[in-house]
Structures are given as C-alpha cells and as structure tokens.
C-alpha cells in the first residue's frame, strides 16, 4: 500500500507573527519556518504503517517554492521514502492545493492520503475534506487513532463531545490530529541520509490545474486587545470584585 502525505511549510508555531508596516499582509521575511505540526503527525503515522509492514512506500508532497525542500527533507529524515515538490509561486488556497493534490493522485495512485487536520498559519482546516470531495473518496477528519484492516481503515475521530469511529474503504483521505502519535525527533545522521533520497520537482503548471485565488486579502490587523486586568490579593477580594463590579451572582 502506497501512502501519500501532504506537507505544508509554515511559520514555526512558537513564533509570534508580525504585520507589515502598511498593513497589507503579515511579514514572514526571515522568520523560522517548519513543518506544519499536524502534518508531522501525518508523516509519523505513515512511517509507522510502513514499519509495521502495512505500507510499502511513503511519498511526501509539498506545494510552494524551492524553499519547501527543507520540510520535505525533514520528512525524508523521519523515514519517508521519497518526496515531490509541486513548485508554484502562487498564493495557494486550500481549494487550489486540493485540486493540485488530485492531479498528483492520478499519477501516484496511493491507497491512503494523510494530511494534517489544519495548518497553523491560516487555520482553515479544509484541504483534506476538499481533496476527498474532488476524488469522491471517503474521509475521516481529526484522526486520533487509525488501524488498517485489509481493504478498510478504522479511524477514531476527535469530535465535540467525545470520539467517533468510522470504517472507510480504501482508497481514503484522513486528516490527523495531534494525539494520533508523537512524531519522532530527527537525528543528524538521518538528515545526512535523507539528502540521498529522491526529491522530484514538478512545476504546478505541468499539472494544468486552475489555482487562481478566490479570496482577496484586503487588510490585516492586530486583534482587539482585552482591557488590562487587575491583580487581586486574596480569594475574598476576588469574590468581592466579581460580585460588586461584575454583578456576578456567586
């Protein structure tokens, strides 16, 4: 079974992103970039399925500029077999990414596609479901456990109020949540070995997909700040403030 894992290169989640002086966009020049954390769970799960003898090949794919090679090399160092970079200078929305992945799917014919449940930059959480729709394949989002049983995959999903388990016929699309696994650390020798693994570059135009953006960014701004609070010295003072100043019945 071949597994395709989609990987997004995003601003490292520890970094507080700033706004350009003219308010036209965020300023991410020179900022540390990393693999989207949820995608790292997807890579890890694919590699574990290979280590269990269930998957035969793990192929990574990322969309963006040549700079995206770093996140693909990271995934190769974790243990993926090869990687594909779909090179594009366009500002790619989830729908455009899903269409590009569909085009790649036709070439690669994987049995399972894993993606992070959302990217921590745009927080959209759409690409996996869109890809499943375009392929007319079953989907399971927010996966916290998965188990391949022959031609089916059992997926436990984290939903509001608990969890839900679905059985999907392969091929299927699954988006991964943080509690699916703990991604392994990459050791330096693995990074060196990953340089020898195949990393193919395809031009997005080769895939002949309409990736024109549907959304126009008009403005970016800081969110409204909460008014500064006060520190209280004791439980009694806290209750007095809540009752007298906020009118809360306690």
């Amino acid at each position: 079974m071949k597994i395709l894992v989609a990987v997004k290169r995003v601003v490292d989640y520890n970094i507080k992103v700033r706004i350009k002086a003219d308010g036209s966009d965020v300023d991410i020049d020179g900022v540390k970039m990393s693999v989207n954390p949820f995608d790292e769970n997807a890579i890890e799960e694919a590699i574990r399925l290979k280590e269990q003898g269930i998957a035969s090949e793990v192929v990574l794919v990322s969309l963006g500029s040549a700079a995206n090679q770093d996140v693909l090399r990271h995934g190769l160092a974790m243990g993926a077999d090869r990687a594909i970079l779909i090179e594009s200078s366009a500002n790619l929305e989830p729908l455009a990414v899903a269409k590009s992945l569909k085009a790649l799917f036709a070439r690669e014919q994987p049995q399972l596609i894993l993606l992070g449940k959302q990217a921590v930059d745009d927080d959209a959480g759409q690409t996996g479901q869109m890809l499943a729709a375009l392929l007319d394949y079953p989907q399971a989002t927010f996966a916290s456990a998965l188990e391949v049983n022959g031609s089916e995959v059992l997926v436990t999903r984290e939903v509001d109020g608990g969890t839900e388990t679905l059985a999907l016929k392969l091929p299927a699309v699954i988006t991964t949540d943080l509690r699916l696994n703990n991604p392994r650390f990459v050791k330096l020798p693995n990074l060196m070995m990953a340089r020898k693994k195949a990393l193919e570059t395809i031009s997005a135009t080769e895939l002949a997909v309409d990736v024109a953006p549907r959304h126009q960014l008009l403005k970016v701004a800081e969110p409204p700040a909460r008014k500064a609070g006060v520190k209280v010295g004791s439980v009694a003072e806290l209750l007095e403030k809540l009752r007298a100043h906020e009118g809360i019945t306690l």
């Binding site: 759409q126 989907q139 960014l217």
Partner: protein
C-alpha cells in the same frame, strides 16, 4: 435567493450555536432556511421551525443519515445548493468536517470561522491562532462559510411555526461505515454553551488531582470543565474539553483559568469570555494579560478556599 444553514444537533436537540448562526445569516437580506439532517428528527425540526427569522426548515430524515456522515450530508447540500447563494453553519467539529467537502463539490473556496461579516462577500477571520485578523473578500458566486458563534447573539424563539419541508434525496455511498462512538458522560452543562467554565492546565499534576481540585468548584458554580492542550495531552482530561485553536471555542460569562499558562493556542479559544479570572503561581504567566482578575497563588490552596467560600 435564500440563505441555507446546516443545523447541528445530537439527535435529541439543536446545538445552541444554531441560534447564533441564524443571527449571522440575517446579514443577507434573504429568507433563512435551516437544513436538519439525521434520523427520527421531527422534534428537532419542530424546534428549528420555532427560531425567529427562520422561514423554512428542510428535513432530510433517513436511517442511513443517523450519523450525519460528511459524504452523505455534503451530497444532500450540493443537491440543494442551486437555490442558495449563501451556505453557512456555526464553526465546530461538525461543520468543519462537512462544509469544506460541500465547497469543493461546488467548486468554491470556503471561509472558515468568520468573526465578522462586513459585506455580502467580505469577512473578518483570524489566522495564526487568533494573533492576526484578516479581512478577505470572496469572488465566488456561492459563499460557503462557517461563523464564529460567540461573536453573534442568539436568535430568539417564537411560537410561530415555520414550514417544514421533508425531502428524500437518493444516497447510495457505501464507502464509509459508522462503527461506534464514545460520548463523555457528564451532568455538567455543555462546554460550548456553558455560562461558567472552569479550565485547568498542566499544573494540576494528574488526572486525579484535576478532578479532585476542579470538580467541586465546577459543581458549585454549575460550570463546565475545560482544559488546555497540555493537560489533555498529559492525560489529565478528555480531548473533547480542550479549549483553544484546535479544540473548542468558548465565550462564557465567567471563565476561570486554573494553572493555565496562557499560550496563544489556548487564549484563542477563550478570549471572548466576558469576565476572565486567572489563578496561577507564576506572576509573569501570559494568562494574566488576558485576565480581568488575576490571583497569584498556589492553586491547591486557592481553589479549595474559593470553593468553600461560595
């Protein structure tokens, strides 16, 4: 032209966020219709028909829709879509699962978790865990969006019953099978709509102390329990009570953060709360920057003292 809302429910009642989605939908000067999908849902459709501002309820009741699988609900919605230039739902794990699938089938982009509707195709939404607000304009002929429920007031109920129309689209997919579910058993109010939320972080130390320290307080306040991702990852609390960027967003009247450091990924999910109280041993914890009232102290002393003075 009409606006369609996908109504979330648990088989027994509508989710409270549906009332807020109705208010959001009023932005467009068009009749608002609610779509209720499931099995044995006539009581839910009745409730939906009594929301002020709803002109019609479309009920799709079938045995194989009991679990509202995304593949099926998306098919139902694309079948209906030609009459609706606006399709929306309150943002939740339910709508996040289904709406992107609908948007792709309609070949339109989607707006996730809109905080504000500025014009009939222009929205404010946040990126980077709520650190940045963006204003975006959509060029699509059909607007598919989820709305940040806590930013909209709840529509009221009326005694006037809107029309309920039952439809039976043909559904034949066999590729996804529902197997089982686990629902958290709790006497407490639902986290998403509770008036008071008591949330705990990793400082609680274990699942046992999380329960021992926070439960008596939550019980006295009639509050829902919440948790940070760190506390959930450590196994102190179940996943479905995680508040934040990747969990549930809450906006109660009172939010009490106990031993919560205040990472942006957490504050994203609670900063719309009316009054925020933070209790933390570290006077420099970022949670104090979003708290109205901060109390620096050992939570294992402060919380029992607070509980016993209520």
């Amino acid at each position: 032209m009409k606006t369609l809302i996908l109504a979330e429910h648990d088989g027994k009642a509508l989710n409270a966020s549906v009332y807020k989605a109705v208010t959001a939908a009023q932005f467009w000067p068009a009749p608002v219709e609610l779509l209720v999908v499931g099995h044995r849902i006539s009581a839910i459709s009745q409730e939906a028909a009594k929301i002020a501002g709803v002109s019609r309820v479309i009920q799709v009741d079938a045995e194989n829709l009991a679990h509202q699988l995304a593949e099926d609900v998306a098919k139902v919605m694309t079948h209906l879509a030609k009459d609706y230039p606006v399709i929306l739902a309150a943002h939740s794990s339910f709508s996040r699962n289904i709406l992107p699938r609908v948007a792709a089938l309609l070949d339109v982009a989607m707006i996730s978790d809109a905080l504000e509707i500025q014009a009939n195709n222009t929205y404010v939404r946040s990126i980077y865990a709520g650190n940045i607000y963006t204003t975006i304009q959509s060029a699509d002929a059909i607007q598919v969006l989820s709305v940040h429920a806590s930013h909209f007031s709840a529509a009221t109920r009326t005694e006037q019953l809107a029309e309920i129309q039952a439809i039976n689209p043909e559904l034949s997919q066999q590729n996804t099978r529902w197997v089982s579910e686990t629902r958290s058993q709790s006497e407490r109010p639902a986290l998403g709509s509770a008036k008071v939320v008591v949330s705990g972080g990793r400082s609680l130390g274990s699942a046992e102390t999380f329960e021992q320290v926070l439960s008596p307080l939550a019980n006295k306040l009639g509050a829902a329990l919440g948790a940070t991702r760190a506390a959930v990852d450590a196994g102190y609390a179940p996943n479905d009570i995680q508040v934040g960027q990747t969990g549930v967003t809450v906006a109660p009247d009172l939010y009490i953060a106990v031993g919560v450091s205040g990472a942006v990924q957490h504050t994203y999910g609670m900063k719309d709360s009316k009054v925020v109280v933070a209790i933390n041993q570290d006077p420099d914890a970022p949670i104090f920057q979003v708290a109205d009232y901060g109390l620096v102290g050992d939570l294992f002393e402060v919380i029992p003292a607070l509980t016993s003075s209520l």
